[in-house]
């Protein structure tokens, strides 16, 4: 007999609906799965068999074929186990065919019949076409957030079979888990001194400008970067859903009962491989760190230590907000709209910034500089030098503005950007930017001089205008931009790793 159950698999960050077809007929006993299953999927055979037997069902001594349609799409992972088991039971007439109408199932089976959640379950259930959806009990609330279908939460295959046979009612949904304690976002007020750097963070958050911090070890670059997500606006519902899907596909830990509205913060170590950073690992074309940082912050500490080819791979996502990953079997587009924050030392010994302190040879410094390609450096609107704060200022000194205060200013600035039809100024096209940034006489004169003496290049000019616009937005100033806005922008855009001053 023949039957079908709806399920789904994951490719990249999107679910792909899959129809599990089962056919049981007389013939030589055997079980085969066709339709491009990967290894984990093919192993479903053994898991399903053990789970059926442990759940008090019969293992049919017949010829069984399972087809995963559409057969051209590669099926990945163990999420189809549950659907395969249910389809087989109906095809073997251990269950009524009618009970599968409008039913979908996503979940992995244990040998004892337990039903478990799988990585990527959020995008997968989003793709399942069904009125009722059977999933593992521990992911029931999470799935409920993204799926319109009626959720049937089961702990074991036996529970599902009993409910479908009409012997027992569906088990009730588990009680809502205690909400996770709100993640403690470090407060900006903890940072003493560093006024310019704090201002740069605020501007980065308000305008979506990528930020490069150059400074010696111990200057507080990491401390500053960790405070950036707190300044960004909370994610809206669509963004939160997108982020949850990406994180689920990447197999990250998710809050159990809600879509997280905190902007993600990802800080991959510099030994991270290209695939782990950009995505495309495993047959699922798993999203990488840049995708996981979508709508949040990607922090690359020790930028100079990342292999150059890995850094250059960041250029496409920085430009387009997405990455196209192509492999022989498939091609996916992964979202990658993140705010890039990078930190690095000015030279291997870390002291080059301070005149007369560096211990590195010129060759070492030149080699360190060459690691970063010009095009990548060019993507950073904000390039600031961070210096170690005075000890006096660490101990005494007044705390600066708190995260809440600054976040309110950021939100106000973003509201002004929204009147231009974008979420933040970094998204303005060059033409729109030109229109939005009229300059007053003083600002024109200042830019003119800077261009003439060569401290500003033509390409840098657009970036400075963009930055100045955000600075004006934060100050609540109307057009035109004044010389103060432009002066501040120039001060926050240093030439990174200036060549030896004596040259």
């Amino acid at each position: 007999m023949f039957t079908t159950v709806s399920s789904a698999t994951v490719l990249g960050v999107d679910g792909q609906p899959v129809t599990v077809e089962a056919h049981v007929s007389t013939g030589l006993p055997g079980f085969s799965i066709v339709g491009l299953p990967d290894t984990a999927c093919r192993e479903a055979r053994d898991r399903v068999r053990a789970a059926l037997l442990s759940s008090g069902c019969r293992w049919p001594q017949k010829r069984m074929t399972v087809n995963l349609a559409p057969s051209g799409v590669r099926k990945v992972g163990s999420g189809l186990d549950l659907a395969i088991a249910l389809a087989l039971l109906v095809a073997d007439e251990q269950l009524e065919a009618s009970c599968l109408e409008g039913l979908g199932a996503v979940g992995e089976l244990g040998l004892d019949g337990t039903v478990r959640g799988v990585p990527g379950i959020v995008p997968a259930v989003d793709a399942v076409i069904a009125d009722e959806l059977v999933v593992a009990r521990d992911v029931a609330h999470l799935v409920g957030l993204v799926s319109d279908a009626e959720i049937r939460a089961v702990a074991t295959l036996h529970e599902a079979v009993a409910a479908l046979a009409g012997e027992d009612p569906w088990p009730p949904l588990p009680p809502r888990p205690d909400p996770d304690p709100p993640a403690r976002v470090p407060d900006l007020a903890d940072v003493r001194g560093q006024r310019a750097a704090r201002r740069a963070l605020e501007i980065a958050a308000a305008g979506g400008h990528h930020l490069l911090m150059v400074g010696p070890p111990g200057a507080g670059k990491t401390m500053l970067a960790r405070r950036l997500p707190g300044l960004l606006p909370r994610l809206d519902a669509a963004q939160a859903l997108a982020v949850t899907k990406i994180h689920s596909a990447a197999g990250l830990r998710l809050p159990a009962d809600r879509l997280s509205t905190e902007p993600p913060f990802r800080d991959p170590h510099h030994s991270t491989t290209m695939v782990a950073l950009i995505g495309g690992g495993a047959p699922t074309l798993r999203p990488g760190e840049v995708s996981c940082a979508t709508h949040g912050v990607l922090f690359l500490d020790e930028l100079g230590e990342f292999p150059p080819h890995v850094l250059d791979a960041l250029r496409q996502p920085l430009e387009q907000g997405s990455i196209r990953i192509s492999r022989a079997s498939a091609s996916v587009v992964l979202p990658a709209q993140f705010l890039l924050v990078a930190a690095m030392n000015p030279c291997p010994c870390g002291e080059a910034n301070r005149p007369g302190h560096c211990r590195c040879s010129d060759r070492e410094r030149a080699r360190y500089r060459r690691r970063l390609s010009g095009p990548l450096l060019d993507r950073f609107d904000l390039r600031i030098d961070v210096t170690r704060p005075d000890t006096n200022r660490l101990l005494g000194g007044e705390p600066g503005a708190s995260t809440a205060t600054v976040a309110a200013r950021v939100a106000a600035a973003r509201a002004r950007a929204a009147t231009r039809g974008v979420r933040c100024n970094a998204e303005l096209t060059d033409a729109r930017l030109e229109a939005a940034t009229s300059l007053d006489a003083g600002a024109t004169a200042l830019l003119d001089t800077a261009l003439r003496v060569g401290s500003l290049t033509a390409r840098g000019l657009t970036r400075v205008r963009r930055l100045a616009l955000t600075i004006a937005d934060l100050a609540g100033a109307e057009a035109p931009l004044t010389s103060e806005h432009v002066g501040m922008a120039l001060a926050l855009r240093s030439e990174p790793l200036a060549a030896s001053e004596a040259a």
Binding site: T449, A450, E501
Partner: protein
Amino acid sequence: MKGADVGFVTAIASLPKVGPARLGRLLDLGEPGEVWERIRNGTLGDEPGVVESLGARSAPLVASWRDHARAMDPERLGRLHHDLGIRLLCAADAEYPEVFRTDVEPPRLLWVAGDIGAVRSPAVAIVGTRRCTRYGHDVARRFGRELASAGVTVVSGLALGIDAAAHAGVLDADEMGAPPVGVVGTGLDVVYPRRNVGLWHSVAQCGVLLSEAPPGATAEPWRFPARNRLIAALADIVVVVESTERGGSLYTVDEAIARDVEVRAVPGHVTAPSSAGTNRLLADGAAPALDTGDLLEALGVTVEATGGSGRPDRPVYRDPEEAEVLDILTTGSVTFDELAERSGLGLERLGLVTARLQAEGVVQRSGGWYERRG
């Protein structure tokens, strides 16, 4: 030196581990051509006492020279001098600088590119650290320019930093100025450091480049102290512009003291590591070099008062905020945060003020630090 000998002498000097001392002993053994033949045949060690005279652990070295010598062509080396416009001088030559004839440790051989007539008195050596601050750079450049304009020969080592700034200053001076003298530690055809290639050729063209190393000799650590000795020997005054506590320019100072050459130091910030060495010299009794006038007076040179040491005119009026920032910057390099705190200006206002001063060229930023220029 005779044409044929140039090739042989250069070949001997190009053998591995031949410094001034070994070279001197080898040349004392006989005619250069003859000595070269003995090295090539491996018969140098046959004569008793020769190997011992070359210093400890010389026996394996002498043996290795034979193989090196067979790979070299003295005739080609001789032609190379002609092609590169390099000349080789020894004490027997009339053009050999007089100042070396009376020196305690004169160079046995001197390779010369340019006009040897540029080596003349009065001369001031300007030396200092390779990693200088903007302050040191500007002082060295100004001294170079003003001394050259006053007809004083400026001697330096063509290293990065202070050395390069001093000679850049000399080249800034008008055509009537004294030509520059550069003393380098590598072969005259090996530009080191590469970054100075433009300056290197300009000095050879306008003045003269001297080296104790044969053409083709690459940068080796032991050659630079020897080079510093020549700088000290050529100078009437050695001016150290900036030096760290244990900088290489202090070698030059030691050599100058050994020759009774006056040493002067440019005062710096007591907190600046780049001035630690020079401030120590001042504390130890060196006279300060405050401006060109002091140096000229010490040399006994008088200059017509045509404003040779005149400073660039400062605008009389500045807006008070700019003046305040400039005032703070006179105390050395300062970060943006510190500037904001000490000036009491808002960050935007300060951004504007520093941007203006930078555009004017009065202030420069290196790393996160702001410095005053000039």
